[in-house]
Amino acid sequence: MSGPAINGAMPQQPVAMAVENIVKRYGDFEAVKGVNFSVAEGEIFGLLGPNGAGKSTLIRMMTTLIPVTAGKAIVAGCDVSKDPDAVRRQIGVIPQALTSDPDLTVEENLLIYAKLYSVPRGQREKNIAEVLEAVDLLKWRGAQTKTLSGGMRRRLEIARGLVHDPRIFFLDEPTTGLDPVSRIAVWEMLNNLKATRNLTMLLTTHYMEEADKLCDRIAIVDHGHLVALGTPVELKNSVAGANVIEVEFAREAEEWKARLEQLAGVTSVQPESAGFYRVVTSSGSQTTMELVTMAAQMGEAITSLSVQNTTLDDVFVHYTGRQLRDEQVKPALASWAMMPRGGSN
């Protein structure tokens, strides 16, 4: 693939970071295949894709953690290959794993990192207090890290990445492993940080909702390629059809797919499981009415029906031909399908 299917225009602000034809090779395997994008100052930019798509490899190249095989990455005006130290001084990085020291207290972890970033002695206390307040951990500053919950530890990681007041913030799957409540708390916190600190953020995620809620622009990455780039709205609008209808019939029949495709406004029909279909349409209300009428005329029962706007899931399916969560849920679905199911619907 030579370039993304759509390439949403970058905001007018100056460029905070850019990658040009960047490639990462491990022997014969190419993890990142000539990706290009730019991120404007103050923007939250998301790299969206399944596990193994190349998101973390991209972020690791941009944060100097692994060498670039070919191409160029410019972060905060510096080439990551030529001047990695200058890049490191201006970025904050939250790795995917929780890497704060569990034996040290919250404050000690931040103090060590403030020293590693050469924050002046007089400034350290102030910075630590500020970031602890920003992540709502002020009253836990003396607690040993190993006593914190997963969500609190993630917030500590974020505070650690901010202790030297960086211009650019990289977050590699910042909410992976968190419960829904903690996840929403992290989203709110990142939005606040963006507003109060004018940070440029680049985050990777495989959560559609996270990318949709947080990011100003999203790049969809699959198999090392950047397949689409734009704002969430642009990406959704780029998919033919404005609504998605999910319908489940009581009885599975071979002709359902063909019949659904003939309904007004329908642009695609995707079978999800036995009797369950995902229908993309340009007119949700009209298609729904025709669908119900068709089922009534045929004497078929509909066990469930929902109409919703196009989601990033649909965008991902459109550009990659598969579900984003396929790789995560396939094994679970397979075992679930093997189980006997009770109930009539």
Binding site: R60, T63, T64, L65, I66, P67, D85, R88, R89, I91, V93, P95, Q96, A97, L98, T99, S100, D101, D103, L104, E108, I112, Y113, K115, L116, Y117, S118, R160
Partner: protein, 370 residues
């Protein structure tokens, strides 16, 4: 510099927060010191020795009296009368006896007629320590029997006069130097090698690598922290071990200074060696698997337990490049002989050069990226 000190600070905060490392690094050497020091240091006592007397003459009585004297004074063995040599041999073979003394028939007559008299000693030489101890005691008994009743006023036999430079050194004291070095090695292995690989596996290093810290600062920070931990382990074991073994050197400031120099040089050498071995290791199981092998390969050829002079050539070659050898030799000089800097400076130089050399080799191998 500040970034390097931040790494040291992090390590030391962890170290003092969790004293497990200190306790674990001293546990093995202390147990070894107490158990081996007491087990190997003592003399053989109360071995069971059968006595078969076929003679019953006056000279045989003299032998029995000397055996009784051993039993009452040195207590190397206890004499148990046996009726015949066959039964006594069988008892030695079956382990009921540790040895058997045979006084042959006509022994007294042969002594008096100076006709090559002989006493028999049956030993179980599968146990070298026991058989050597009984043989040595019986040699003394025989020497006493051979001595003239009235010694000549002018002796014409050659005597060896042994001058012992130092007071009697119990085995526990001899072992202390090795135990101190071993405690430092365990500290470096756990607090340096294992923690370093564990930190890598947990992603802690990934956190460091995105900061502006240089590779050299990171290497030096980790090694300085490792060296401080090893010195603390060495000091602790020197103090506890000296008190256990009854050595008073820790109360002499000059000797304390010499000991501190040895401990610092040893910790630099051990840390450099460990860092060189672990710098490219990723799997946390590797240092755990290497622990026992390295311990055997480095500790035992060093002269900590047995003299190097008794080793075959290949084992002596290991001893020559083994930093344990120089650490233990210099520690013995100070702990047992109060040798002074003149006696230890060569060992200090070797240890320092070894440490710096291994660090110089390891630093370029350290990867600043993942």
């Amino acid at each position: 510099m500040n970034r390097m000190l931040a790494i040291v600070e992090r390590e030391m905060r962890k170290f003092f927060r969790s004293p497990v490392l200190m306790i674990m690094s001293m546990m093995l050497p202390l147990v070894q010191l107490v158990v081996l020091g007491n087990a190997f240091g003592g003399k053989i006592k109360n071995a069971r020795v059968g006595v078969v007397d076929y003679d019953h003459g006056p000279q045989a009585v003299k032998v029995l009296e000397d055996i009784d004297a051993v039993e009452a004074n040195e207590r190397t063995f206890t004499a148990i009368p046996y009726l015949n040599e066959r039964a006594a041999r069988k008892a030695v073979q079956s382990g009921k006896l540790d040895a058997a003394i045979i006084i042959p028939a006509s022994y007294s007559q042969r002594v008096l007629s100076q006709d090559d008299p002989q006493l028999g000693l049956v030993v179980d030489n599968s146990d070298q320590f026991m058989s050597s101890a009984i043989e040595s005691t019986m040699q003394s008994v025989v020497a006493a029997l051979n001595a003239p009743v009235l010694p000549p006023r002018i002796s014409n036999s050659i005597a060896l006069e042994v001058v012992e430079l130092y007071p009697y050194i119990a085995y526990m004291k001899f072992l202390l130097a090795g135990s101190v070095a071993l405690a430092m090695y365990v500290s470096v292995m756990i607090g340096g090698g294992m923690l370093y690989i564990d930190d890598k596996a947990r992603g802690v290093h990934e956190g460091y690598l995105v900061t502006p810290i240089t590779g050299l600062e990171l290497v030096m920070g980790m090694n300085i922290a490792g060296a401080i931990k090893a010195v603390l382990a060495g000091i602790s074991l020197t103090v506890i071990g000296s008190l256990l073994a009854g050595l008073g050197v820790i109360f002499h400031p000059i000797l304390d200074l010499e000991l501190l120099c040895i401990l610092v040089a040893t910790s630099i050498a051990f840390n450099g060696m460990m860092f060189l071995m672990m710098v490219r290791v990723e799997d946390p199981l590797v240092p755990r698997a290497m622990f026992g092998v390295l311990n055997t390969l480095l500790f035992f050829p060093s002269g900590a337990i047995y003299p190097i002079a008794a080793f075959p050539k290949w084992l002596r070659a290991i001893a020559i490049v083994d930093p344990f050898t120089y650490a233990i030799r210099s520690l013995k000089e100070v702990l047992l002989k109060s040798g002074g800097f003149g006696a230890i400076y060569r060992d200090l130089l070797f240890l320092a050069a070894f440490g710096v050399g291994t660090l110089l080799l390891a630093t370029p191998l350290f990867k600043r990226t993942l």
